[in-house]
């Protein structure tokens, strides 16, 4: 357990230090181990001896010393084994230590590109990002995902091996690759944010809050790339969604749908920040999917009451999104917006096309939306059947209870 003294500072510095060490030595897996050791030394020494004047340089120096030690050990092992050794230990171990000139900002970004590399599975990329860039311990990450620590340690170590094997380089992606690399990073951060929602009803009170962590990291990327519209859009989307967190579940974790939430419990500061960010971004041109989703979230958040929601504007935004991406979930939301503007029957009509799409045909959300619309058009029996179908298919316990209850209320409620 880290001491509170400097914990924030350590987490802030750890990706920069790791980036600098990887830049110098190349070996990501070994660098990661060395930085973890350096952080541990800092956590035990700093509370007594005080934080050094240049904590970043201090950490890089300690981590580099570990790297040097292990490189020398590795080299002499290879010499003993009479393998062909072309490298000289002193070439590998660059002695010049941090001069304060290094592009630490860029290092954090390069680290993200490496951790979110498409060669990795998404769960591995997520775990590695939280550890190497987020500065979380393996135990904290395991706890956040509700898996045993040994499982998470294995996932991280396999990811590091894969990086080594696939020869992913610690460098800025070429011009043509930058967009794809950044897209992968944003997608990983988006998944971390959503995972925070999926696990938020779980039992542990001491769990790292993944949604807040995703916001913190997105903020860092936005800071590094302030002119990237999609990065700003993603940060705004997270802020505007997370602003409703306190209102979206009841005291026992039960689900409260958007139109029934107590809007006075929404986080006004987060909404103000998200709205300002997305407004400034949208006016710059080059609109992307995260920006549109953020704009939709902003329209919801700006309505003081559910009935004040500007549904025609939301419908128009979903219309743009549908044209931009062939995503069935987007089409489903588009159908909901159409139902709010043109009536439930219009929405039901749009759902028919989705029945033929194997990516969503068996999904609980399609059944849940159909149930809501059938309830509105007065088709009681069909609505009950759809609510039960959706309840069977969802993997979320609070959502299952909510859908089950809706069916029961229609079937024989007061």
């Amino acid at each position: 357990m880290r001491a509170n003294v400097g914990e924030h500072l350590l987490r802030e510095l750890s990706p920069q230090v790791l980036g600098a060490v990887v830049r110098r030595y190349g070996d990501f897996a070994a660098a990661e181990d060395a930085v973890q050791e350096a952080l541990l030394v800092a956590a035990t020494k700093w509370p007594d001896e005080g934080v050094p004047d240049n904590p970043r340089a201090w950490l890089i120096q300690v981590a580099s010393r570990r790297m040097t030690d292990s490189l020398r050990a590795e080299l002499s092992r290879r010499r003993r084994e009479a393998a062909v050794v072309t490298e000289n230990a002193d070439d590998l171990v660059v002695p010049s230590l941090d001069s304060g000139q290094e592009p630490e900002q860029e290092d954090t970004l390069l680290l993200l590109f490496m951790c979110c590399h498409p060669a990795l599975t998404r769960p591995s990329a997520i775990a590695l990002t939280l550890r190497a860039v987020g500065g979380l311990t393996t135990a904290e990450i395991a706890n956040a995902f509700l898996v045993p620590e040994a499982t998470m340690a294995q996932r991280i170590s396999r990811a590091k091996q894969l990086i080594k094997k696939s020869g992913v380089r610690f460098r800025m992606p070429a011009d043509g690759e930058l967009e794809e690399s950044l897209g992968a990073v944003l997608h990983v951060l988006y998944l971390v944010f959503n995972e925070g929602y999926a696990t938020s009803a779980g039992p542990s009170l001491h769990r790292v809050d993944l949604s807040s962590e995703a916001i913190r990291l997105s903020r860092a990327v936005h800071h590094l790339l302030p002119h990237d519209g999609e990065c700003a859009g993603l940060l705004a989307l997270m802020l505007l969604t997370d602003a409703r967190r306190a209102a979206r579940t009841g005291p026992d974790g039960e689900l409260i749908p958007l139109d029934e939430q107590d809007r006075t419990a929404w986080d006004r500061d987060a909404i103000a920040e998200g709205v300002a960010l997305i407004s400034a971004t949208l006016s710059k041109g080059q609109v992307g999917a995260y920006q549109l989703q953020a704009a939709i979230a902003a329209v919801h958040d700006e309505a003081a009451r559910a009935e004040d929601t500007d549904w025609p504007q939301i419908l128009a935004l979903y219309g743009l999104l549908v044209r931009m991406s062939d995503n069935p979930m987007v089409r489903l939301s588009h159908a909901i917006a159409a139902a709010m503007v043109h009536g439930a029957a219009a929405g039901l009509g749009l759902l028919q096309a989705l029945d033929a799409d194997p990516r969503i045909a068996g999904h609980h959300r399609l059944a849940a939306v159909r149930a809501h619309l059938l309830e509105k058009t007065g088709e009681r029996e069909a609505a009950i059947a759809s609510y039960r179908l959706a309840a069977n298919r969802t993997a979320s316990l609070p959502e299952r209870n909510y859908l089950m209850m809706k069916a029961a209320l229609l079937a024989g409620g007061p």
């Binding site: 026992d252 039960r388 069977n392 993997a395 089950m404 029961a408």
Partner: protein, 132 residues
């Protein structure tokens, strides 16, 4: 010592019986379960607990002869009961596990009456014993 407490429910037609209950009965049952889990956590005995998706969503998988797994859809006529959920409790004696199982068994059902559900109690095996 750890015990797994397994709550079985009739297979039905692929969903859980609770789907056919009245809203207030359903509400009372859900609240009971949430409170029970909260209490067990507070007592320091709960190691894990999960609820499972209904039998209609279950699949049976075998290695088969090819390279792809052999997946069978339900309904599974041979099974009369399905695991609906489980608790793993960490207690001092088997009797404490039985007492917890009895509390879960008394969850309210239709008409608010205790369901008296059968709860299967099984000890969870541990690693190697300490060397002496």
């Amino acid at each position: 010592m750890k015990f797994m407490l397994m709550m079985n429910a009739p297979r039905g037609t692929g969903d859980w019986g609770i789907y056919k209950w009245k809203p207030e009965e359903m509400k009372a049952h859900i609240e009971f379960m949430i409170r029970l889990n909260k209490d067990l956590r507070g007592e320091g005995t709960l190691a894990a607990c999960e609820g499972l998706a209904p039998p209609g969503e279950a699949r049976v998988v075998r290695a088969g002869k090819g390279t792809a797994p052999e997946v069978t859809d339900g309904p599974f006529a041979e099974a009369k009961e399905f695991l609906a959920g489980y608790w793993i409790v960490d207690v001092e004696t088997p009797e404490q596990a039985y007492a917890i199982a009895a509390r879960a068994s008394a969850a309210p059902g239709p008409g608010g009456k205790p369901l008296n559900m059968p709860i299967e109690v099984r000890q969870v095996m541990s690693g190697p014993p300490p060397e002496t």
